[in-house]
């Protein structure tokens, strides 16, 4: 029986010993709350520094947040936490879809996987039961085939599956987990970790239920929150055209900054962006709009290609990052090829960001003559060559020729290739980078670079768009009326820290970031989330308390990176390419000035109470957060200031 809105139990699976046990969620509830909170705390405690990401001793957690499975808006998020094979620090990945609520209906808030199976297996969880089953015949199947095979085998079309594809099996470092065919726990290489454990999939089916402490009050809070979201103009734009219309391929008018030709530029000519932007895709390819579990926004698109060399390709989940990774950053303006590349990544279980960055790196190396045609598997990697891009993607997944080098990510690929290629290898802390707007938007760039999982906009990066017309509120929250404004280096640290903490609380609850003030200052506040949690749990929570839990969580992840990856201040700097000015368009001349960046870091570390020279946490800052456990571990390894 559930513990109010928590399923009440955490499932531990040891693949080496084939042992399964459960522990109560209540042990974590008060401080880790759920989702990423539980996953990262377990990771911090269970994995010893020095453990390789592919070592059986690494831990992989699948966690559903505290509000997952309820009627709270967009309450279907799954947190996937493990040691990151790209960075050596944390992987804190997050997927939508329907797997996480099904896990709770089956009786578990999280699954913790350790060890390594001698042969491929899958984990079958159903209504309080869990068992490991043979998956040797599933090994080699893509994620779509795996889902179909498991539903057929288990005799239930409502079974939810999260699986790896060939990319994870082949230990491509940027391999990811896929649920519901297109919902990726994308960044962080969790698919490779799952592959190293020879765990092909987790299938789950549950007919149980969650018991909110105050059902009527909870429903009223849901109604209030939904009304707020539906009143938002920005969320209205997402409902109309998804993220793609908002910022994909140049945004609504084509001028939204992009990454172009391996970030050499951030402006793509209008005639190209308008072949890829959302209205063109809607007119040419859209079959249906879709949403994750219980989502009032439904940002997803199902696109089908009906003619040309990619005819028959169809799938869901195409997003801004796919348009950039396989579009502007490779200078490919042929939409069917970009859709096909996106769907291929979903099927193979390969992170779009990692894949796109690897392709762009190889294309630039080819252009510069650092990679010959013979070395490039005989492919003509000229900008815009979509056939070559798709073929190179296949080579990465299958680790053929140059694909084997790129499967390690651009940092390691550049080290292997040499020839000065490090200067155009776009990565943060070893994680491949696929982001937009980083040159003109300084705080946005800071939030991306400081993300503990290595370069990501869904953490502390503030979007200026959310705060237009909300200067008073911004001043009250951050002491800065223009958070994230273009060109602004100063007074951004508090903004970034606020969003880091805020994203932490949202991931502990398991809601989508698109319900939040990250997208629109008028969307759900910490107090709104606290009201939902209070009515659901029967315990009084405040927004301030939740923000503090978020701050603790960020500090746990920061400490993991310091302990495991040895990250210091030098790892908080952007790739050298972003110090070079943009070459054209409205943002011509914009760059990340190295001196100003150091000033931003100083401001950020000071605001965190961290050491300026190393960027490490201090005993004082951790004491203020009641994180003595974290402090003691850092102290034991000599990495506390």
């Amino acid at each position: 029986m559930s513990d109010t809105i928590w399923a009440g139990r955490i499932l531990w699976v040891d693949l080496t010993r084939r042992e399964i046990r459960v522990e109560p969620t209540a042990d974590y509830r008060s401080y880790a709350i759920g989702g990423r909170g539980i996953g990262q705390w377990i990771l911090f405690r269970e994995v010893a520094p020095g453990t390789d990401a592919y070592d059986p001793a690494n831990v992989l957690t699948l966690g559903a947040g505290a509000l997952v499975g309820t009627l709270a808006p967009a309450s279907g998020r799954l947190s996937v936490d493990t040691k990151n094979p790209l960075t050596g620090g944390v992987c804190a990945s997050n997927a939508g879809g329907h797997f996480a609520p099904e896990l709770k209906y089956a009786g578990y808030d999280a699954v913790v996987i350790v060890g390594q199976s001698p042969v491929p297996v899958y984990l079958w969880i159903h209504d309080g039961q869990a068992e490991l089953r043979d998956a040797q015949d599933l090994w080699g199947l893509d994620t779509w085939q795996t889902e179909a095979a498991l539903r057929q085998r288990l005799g239930d079309p409502n079974v939810r599956v999260v699986a790896i594809g060939p990319a994870g099996e082949n230990l491509v470092r940027g391999a990811c987990l896929i649920a519901d065919r297109a919902r990726a726990a994308g960044r962080g290489g969790a698919g490779a970790v799952m592959g190293s454990k020879r765990l092909k999939a987790v299938a789950v089916r549950g007919t149980g239920e969650l018991r909110p402490a105050e059902p009527e009050a909870f429903l009223q809070e849901v109604r209030r929150c939904n009304a707020k979201l539906l009143a938002s103009q920005i969320i209205g734009a997402y409902r109309a055209g998804g993220g793609m219309r908002f910022a994909g391929a140049g945004g609504p008018d084509g001028t939204f900054p992009q990454a172009v030709r391996n970030y050499r530029d951030c402006y793509w000519p209008l005639e190209k962006s308008r072949r890829i932007y959302e209205p063109a895709l809607k007119a040419g390819y859209e079959v249906r709009r879709l949403g994750c579990f219980n989502c009032p926004i439904s940002c997803s698109h199902f696109y089908a290609v009906r003619e040309g060399p990619y005819a028959g390709d169809a799938g869901e989940g195409f997003e801004i990052n796919s348009a950039r990774a396989f579009g502007s950053n490779l200078d490919i303006d042929y939409a069917p090829a970009i859709i096909a590349a996106h769907n291929y990544c979903s099927r193979m279980g390969l992170d779009v960001d990692m894949a796109g960055a690897c392709l762009a790196f190889a294309f630039e190396a080819y252009e510069r003559g650092d990679l010959s045609r013979a070395e490039a598997n005989g492919l003509d990697l000229s900008w815009g060559n979509h056939q070559a891009a798709l073929e190179l993607l296949r080579a990465i997944v299958e680790r053929r020729g140059v694909g084997d080098m790129l499967a390690e990510g651009v940092k390691r690929a550049a080290e292997a290739l040499g020839r000065g290629s490090e200067r155009y290898a776009l990565h943060v802390k070893g994680a491949d980078l696929n982001e937009a707007s980083m040159r003109p938007m300084k705080a946005w760039a800071l939030g991306i670079i400081l993300s503990t999982h290595g370069g990501g906009h869904l953490d502390g990066a503030p979007g200026a768009w959310a705060w237009r017309g909300q200067e008073d509120l911004a001043r009250e929250l951050f002491g800065n009326p223009r958070p994230g404004a273009a060109g602004e280096y100063r007074n951004q640290a508090r903004v970034v820290i606020w969003f880091e903490n805020y994203k932490g609380l949202i991931d502990m609850l398991g809601l989508c970031y698109f319900t939040s003030m990250w997208l629109d200052a008028l969307a759900l506040t910490p107090d709104d989330y606290a009201a939902l949690l209070s009515a659901g749990s029967g315990q009084a929570w405040s927004g301030a308390e939740l923000m503090r839990r978020g701050q603790q969580l960020h500090n746990v992840q920061k400490a993991f990176n310091t302990l495991h990856a040895g990250h210091t201040r030098r790892d908080d700097r952007p790739p050298p390419r972003l110090e070079e000015p943009a070459q054209s368009g409205p943002f011509r001349g914009e760059r990340l000035d190295p001196q100003r960046w150091e000033e931003m870091l100083d401001e950020y570390y000071q605001a965190q109470g961290w050491d300026l020279e190393t960027g490490w946490q201090t005993a004082e800052s951790l004491r203020a957060l009641d994180l003595e456990e974290v402090s003691a571990k850092l102290q034991a390894y000599g990495r506390l200031k």
């Binding site: 809105i5 499975g69 309820t70 009627l71 329907h98 609520p101 099904e102 209906y105 779509w144 889902e147 079309p157 519901d180 065919r181 297109a182 549950g206 007919t207 149980g208 239920e209 969650l210 018991r211 909110p212 059902p215 429903l219 939904n226 539906l230 409902r239 079959v287 249906r288 709009r289 879709l290 949403g291 994750c292 579990f293 219980n294 989502c295 009032p296 926004i297 439904s298 997803s300 199902f302 089908a304 169809a314 869901e316």
Partner: protein, 87 residues
């Protein structure tokens, strides 16, 4: 399975988010789950085709102010049909 006459169902607008299923389960139990719902979404990921079906346990949300499946269906795939004489 048939669609209650009070409800107007347009599968073309459905985003397969399953809010209706969760809201329906809530109506029957005051809890959250997807085992006691009267409305069922069947989604086919290869084509994006889907069906919306109601089973005989649907009481059109007797006792609620309005049918919850329709209330929580933001895209409007399930709506309350304005029929003269309906409650």
């Amino acid at each position: 399975m048939s669609i209650p006459s009070l409800l107007l169902v347009q599968p073309g607008l459905c985003t397969a988010c399953r809010s209706c299923e969760v809201a329906c389960h809530y109506h029957h139990t005051r809890r959250f789950g997807a085992g006691r719902n009267s409305v069922h979404i069947s989604y086919h990921g290869d084509t994006s085709d889907l069906e919306i079906a109601f089973d005989e346990s649907c009481d059109v949300c007797l006792g609620e102010e309005r049918p919850l499946c329709a209330e929580f269906c933001v895209p409007g795939a399930i709506r309350v049909q304005l029929v003269e004489g309906a409650r």
